[in-house]
Each structure stands twice: as structure tokens, then as C-alpha cells.
């Protein structure tokens, strides 16, 4: 009996090292952009791995380990961290939600987005702009543009329909454009003074 438990533990440990731990950098990056704070990101990632190990038997071998871990982290953030951490004001949230329903991507043509406007912006400003997005929009943007998950994977990670992934993503990118355009303008203003 003890031997059997040993074997199970060894295979679990192996799975953990081989499939889970290599995702630590991606998870930390995601956690950092969610919490906007190194200490919280560190805790969130540790908790994620602890939960992953504890529930390792509910992980289906051969399936997408990265998506499974991201789901644990995202749920952990929503359930435990969101309340405590410094959050951007979420008063605008309802307003964003109403946008979401009307978004079908058809206004792409209206966007005046000049490349060179963004060239002067650095990573810090982009990180800050992402952090100002409501968490639902931030999440899809990070999962898609940073981690390269498919819409279907994102839908599973967040538990929303694919159509909602699409509309949130569309809205998130437009919000980023607006914010970054404002930053770029402010910078240009300062430089020209």
C-alpha cells in the first residue's frame, strides 16, 4: 500500500516538474499584470502552483496544462486577491459592459491609428494602460496578445462564450488605443514645451 502511494506521488511530482513548473514565467507575467504588484504576483503564483499540486488528480493528462494553470490563477485572483489588492476604480464598469453588447468589430474602419504616435511609448506606460482596463478586458487582452491562447482556450479559461471573448478583445484593444494615444499626446506636449 505504501509502495503504491509512493509511485503515485512520484508520477505526480514528475508531471508537476515537467508540465507545470515550466509555465512559471508565463504565470508570473499574467499575475503581475493582474495585480500590478510584484509581491502579490509572487503570492498568487505560489498559491496557483500549490492548488495545482493539491488538485493534480483532476488534471487530465495530455490536455493543455498551461490553460489549466491559467484558469486556476485567474480564479484565485478573482476570488481572493481582487478584494484586497489596490484596484483601479471600477465605477466605469457598467459603462464598459454596455459597449460590449454593441461591439461587433464593424467600427475598425473608423480608427485613426498612427504608428509613429506610439513609437515613443515604453513598456511601463503600456503596462500602466493595461492595468487601467477593467479586469475582464485586461484578462482577454493578456491571454490573447501576450500568451497567444486561441479564443476557444480563452473561453474555457474564463468561462464565457467565444462571442464574448471576441467582443471583449475588440473593446480592450480599442480602449488601449485610446489610452495610449492620450499618453503619447501628453508626452508630445511635454516635449514641445
Amino acid at each position: 500500500m505504501a509502495e503504491e502511494a509512493d509511485i503515485i506521488k512520484r508520477t505526480n511530482d514528475e508531471l508537476f516538474e515537467r508540465e507545470f513548473l515550466p509555465q512559471v514565467e508565463a504565470l508570473y507575467n499574467f499575475a503581475f499584470h493582474l495585480t500590478y504588484n510584484e509581491e502579490d504576483a509572487n503570492d498568487l503564483v505560489q498559491d496557483t502552483f500549490l492548488k495545482a499540486y493539491r488538485f493534480i488528480n483532476s488534471y487530465e493528462r495530455g490536455t493543455n496544462a498551461k490553460a489549466w494553470l491559467f484558469k486556476i490563477l485567474k480564479n484565485g485572483f478573482i476570488n481572493e486577491y481582487r478584494r484586497q489588492t489596490r484596484l483601479p476604480k471600477e465605477v466605469d464598469y457598467e459603462e464598459f459592459l454596455t459597449y460590449q453588447e454593441t461591439d461587433d468589430g464593424s467600427d475598425v474602419g473608423e480608427l485613426d491609428l498612427r504608428d509613429d504616435l506610439f513609437k515613443g511609448l515604453i513598456g511601463d506606460e503600456v503596462t500602466k494602460a493595461v492595468n487601467e482596463l477593467p479586469v475582464d478586458f485586461r484578462t482577454v487582452l493578456l491571454l490573447c496578445d501576450v500568451e497567444g491562447f486561441t479564443y476557444e482556450e480563452i473561453a474555457k479559461i474564463i468561462d464565457i462564450p467565444i462571442g464574448t471573448v471576441r467582443s471583449r478583445l475588440h473593446r480592450a484593444r480599442n480602449l488601449m488605443k485610446e489610452k495610449l494615444r492620450d499618453y503619447a499626446k501628453q508626452m508630445g506636449y511635454k516635449e514641445n514645451r
Partner: protein, 101 residues
């Protein structure tokens, strides 16, 4: 040069076929699919119709290129934060303490 002509020829042939199937995109149909095209979410047939329109319509191509560089910009600027040096050790330590008990 040769390559460019090759693509043009292929696009013409394909667009002829698609026209016959009624499978062509106009500007609106193309622009609503820019995001999905960049995210790799179009089906093969949709992608074909999309690319053919881009080859034939420079305003749409320009918008596509702008969106493409914006996505690339976001991806690059939001790239990996360096993980704290002890993070992996801390995880292993906490795992072995629960695994041992």
C-alpha cells in the same frame, strides 16, 4: 518580382473562383474580420477571401497593416516580467512541505 506576379496571378484565379461561388468579401466584411485574421481565428475559406480582398484593396490593406503593428506593439511591450529569483525554490519548498505531510 517573380514572386509578386505569382501572388497576383494566384489571387486573380482564386478571386474568379470565389466570385463564382459568391464567396467574396467587400470592404465591410473584410474590416470586421481584421482582428480575427490577426488572431488566427478565421477558417481557411474565410482567410482566403480575406487575403484576396487585401490584395485588391489598398485602404483595407493599410488598415490591416496598422492593426497588425498595433498587436505586435502590445505583445512586445507586455512581454515577460522577470520572475523573482527565489520563486521556483519557494514553490518547491511549499510543495514538499504539503506532500510530506
Amino acid at each position: 518580382m517573380q514572386n509578386k506576379w505569382g501572388i497576383k496571378k494566384i489571387a486573380e484565379t482564386l478571386s474568379f473562383k470565389l466570385k463564382k461561388q459568391g464567396n467574396m468579401y467587400d470592404c465591410k466584411a473584410t474590416l470586421t474580420r481584421v482582428m480575427m485574421a490577426l488572431d488566427g481565428e478565421l477558417t481557411e475559406a474565410e482567410e482566403k477571401a480575406f487575403l484576396i480582398h487585401l490584395h485588391q484593396c489598398s485602404p483595407c490593406l493599410k488598415k490591416y497593416e496598422i492593426e497588425k503593428s498595433f498587436k505586435k506593439f502590445l505583445t512586445e511591450k507586455l512581454c515577460r516580467q522577470r520572475i523573482p529569483s527565489q520563486l521556483v525554490d519557494q514553490i518547491r519548498a511549499r510543495i514538499s512541505s504539503i506532500a510530506g505531510s
